[in-house]
């Protein structure tokens, strides 16, 4: 399968006062297009850092990150922002919806960075809210929605631009079991039906089971790889 994300010997060191804190110690990883990869590991193992690097909201201290043939680790800040707008959909643990915008406007937010007309934007937003099953909550504000519904709006916002890659950081971390299940089913559907490449950080082994494969990070290194898809086959 074609490789979408290539990570080559990536290191990340944070500076805390005068101390260097190494978080990633030379990660090399390939993520094929259409993959659904779960990243697991204890707190502080560097999973979120790795996800942030792939999503282009943080930069590696050394090493290369190539997404869809482009070495994003060399992009300027501005180029990176434009790249994220076109290629990355974000799903957060706390949904991160804009409280003063309703569901429609939240989903529309990434489309305002495109050249789409108002009518086209409306069509895209409606389609995205349809996919997540919230077409009846279009004009609700985040505070008028349940946690599960908020996360579905956030997923609609993540997919509305049809990005190459979806990154999800603990997407079920703040949800009850039923809503967590619905969210994971939705992600799985996006992967299987819409062929979305998904990278998900999670603590929850049950959540990881929805992925095609799971990788473990420990002390900044990938220590184990489970080819879930192969195991299931």
């Amino acid at each position: 399968m074609e490789t979408l994300v290539e990570i080559r010997d990536v290191r990340k060191v944070y500076k805390r006062d005068e101390f260097d804190v190494p978080v990633l110690n030379g990660i090399t990883l390939d993520v094929p297009r259409g993959d659904f990869l779960a990243l697991m590991g204890p707190s502080g193992s560097g999973k979120t850092t790795l996800l942030n690097l792939i999503a282009g909201i943080d930069r590696p201290t050394s090493g290369r990150i190539i997404v869809d043939g482009k070495e994003i680790s060399r992009f300027s800040e501005t180029a990176l922002a434009s790249w994220r707008a076109r290629h990355v959909g974000f799903i957060f643990q706390l949904y991160n919806l804009i409280p003063v915008l309703n569901a429609f406007e939240n989903v529309e937010l990434p489309l305002l960075l495109t050249k789409l007309s108002k009518k086209e934007r409306r069509e895209h937003v409606t389609a995205a809210l349809n996919i997540v099953g919230l077409s009846d909550r279009i004009f609700h504000y985040p505070r008028q929605l349940s946690g599960g519904q908020e996360q579905r709006v956030a997923i609609a916002r993540a997919v509305v631009t049809d990005p190459s890659i979806l990154v999800a950081d603990e997407p079920t971390g703040d949800l009850d079991a039923r809503n967590a299940q619905e969210t994971l089913d939705l992600l799985q559907r996006l992967n299987e039906e819409f062929d979305k490449t998904i990278m998900m950080v999670t603590h929850d082994p049950k959540a990881a089971q929805h992925a095609r494969r799971t990788m473990h990070l420990e002390k900044g290194l990938l220590v184990e790889m489970q080819e879930m898809a192969a195991a299931q086959a």
């Binding site: 850092t49 434009s82 991160n96 804009i98």
Partner: protein, 386 residues
């Protein structure tokens, strides 16, 4: 571009904090506008008094009419100079005037203040169209009658029509009230020049005001007076004379500038405080927008617009709060003449626009640092903010 509704709804969402900022800035702007209105009023009272066409003749070296004298001989010489405009009866448009400051009790201060008493002829009215009688009648030549400016009547005792007050050994009857359209004459009492001269034993005038036929005549009359060694007089335009009087009120202008500068600084700090709070409570949502692909400069602009908008509302509130001072009329001492200058606080269109503009400018400056901090937050870190 971040949609404007995002900013406006955020301001509405934290309406208490927004309203407090708007009122905070509003009060600052209102105080500033009042100071400017005061300055504006003083400027108007002095600079609009004089016409650029009219010439003012004073003793050489005299700073003000009260310390100047022009002999009757000089008056007769200047009256005959070529280039002096004539009225419809063929008489030269020349107004010899006697200016004396004297103290009368004020309604709110029994010790009183100096008021200018100006002795004039009928020509003075022809040459100062701003001066209009609004009550009573004109004084009659050769009698102890005066007309008083409306603002003098409002502020000093015994100055209503029908009242009598003592000035030197004489009693003077108030027969009329005039309005001088915000000019310096609004601080004066006018009487017949000849009667005033006799009563006060003055055989010289304080000044002459005349109208030349044109600009060339202005220059030729000026040169003729300057070059006549008998006269020892100086000529300036009436406008220049009254502009120079303003320098006696320089203290007010300096005060206005200092207070305004502090006030702008206060407005900047108020906005900065509001916007730092706004940014810090929205770190995660701003980081989310940047993650989604909004560029740094877009976030910067959005926060600046929000800040400028709060300040704009503050500016409007300031103008509304400052409007009532428009109706305040007060006085100050002109140190050139040691007499009272009455003026209105004048919040006109320009002052109001300037107030709003300064509010917006302070909003932009106050919003700058918080906006930069919002735009420069490391996204990954800010996303973890709760």
């Amino acid at each position: 571009m971040v949609p404007l509704k995002y900013n406006i709804r955020n301001l509405r969402a934290r309406s208490v904090s927004t309203l407090m900022s708007v009122f905070g800035i509003g009060i600052v702007i209102a105080v500033m506008l009042s100071m400017m209105a005061l300055n504006n009023g003083v400027q108007k009272a002095t600079t609009t008094s004089g016409s650029k066409d009219a010439m003012m003749v004073l003793r050489e070296g005299a700073q003000a009419e009260v310390s100047s004298w022009v002999t009757k001989e000089a008056y007769r010489i200047i009256r005959e100079l070529p280039g002096v405009r004539k009225d419809s009866k063929g008489q030269p448009l020349l107004s010899p005037e006697i200016v004396i400051a004297f103290k009368i009790p004020k309604k709110d201060d029994p010790k009183g203040s100096n008021v200018i008493v100006r002795g004039v002829t009928q020509n003075a009215f022809a040459m100062r169209p701003n001066v209009r009688l609004i009550q009573g009648r004109m004084f009659r030549p050769g009698l102890n009658e005066v007309i008083v400016a409306r603002r003098v009547r409002d502020r000093f005792v015994n100055t209503n029509v029908g009242d009598t007050f003592k000035f030197g050994p004489q009693l003077w009857n108030v027969v009329g009230v005039f309005d001088a359209h915000g000019t310096a004459f609004d601080s004066e009492i006018w009487a017949d020049v000849d009667y005033l001269g006799q009563a006060r034993k003055r055989d010289a005038y304080s000044s002459l005001v005349l109208h030349p036929v044109d600009r060339a005549a202005f220059e030729s009359i000026k040169a003729a007076i300057k070059n006549d060694n008998r006269l020892k007089l100086a000529v300036k335009s009436e406008y220049q004379y009254y502009s120079e009087q303003t320098t006696g009120l320089l203290g007010i202008v300096i005060l206005v500038f200092i207070v305004t500068a502090f006030m702008i600084f206060a407005a900047i700090l108020a906005t900065m405080n509001t916007m730092f709070t706004a940014v810090s409570s929205r770190k995660r949502e701003l980081a989310t927008m940047r993650a989604i692909g909004y560029k740094r400069r877009t976030i910067l602009l959005a926060m600046m617009i929000e800040s400028a908008f709060v300040a704009f509302l503050g500016g409007v509130a300031g103008v509304l709060l400052a409007l009532p001072v428009n109706f305040i009329s007060t006085g100050t001492v002109n140190w050139q003449t040691f007499s009272e200058v009455a003026f209105n606080f004048d919040v006109d269109r320009h002052v109001a626009m300037l107030g709003i503009l300064l509010a917006v400018v302070s909003g932009v400056f106050g919003g700058l640092l918080p906006a930069i901090s919002a735009a420069r937050m490391p996204i990954a870190q800010a996303l973890r903010e709760i």
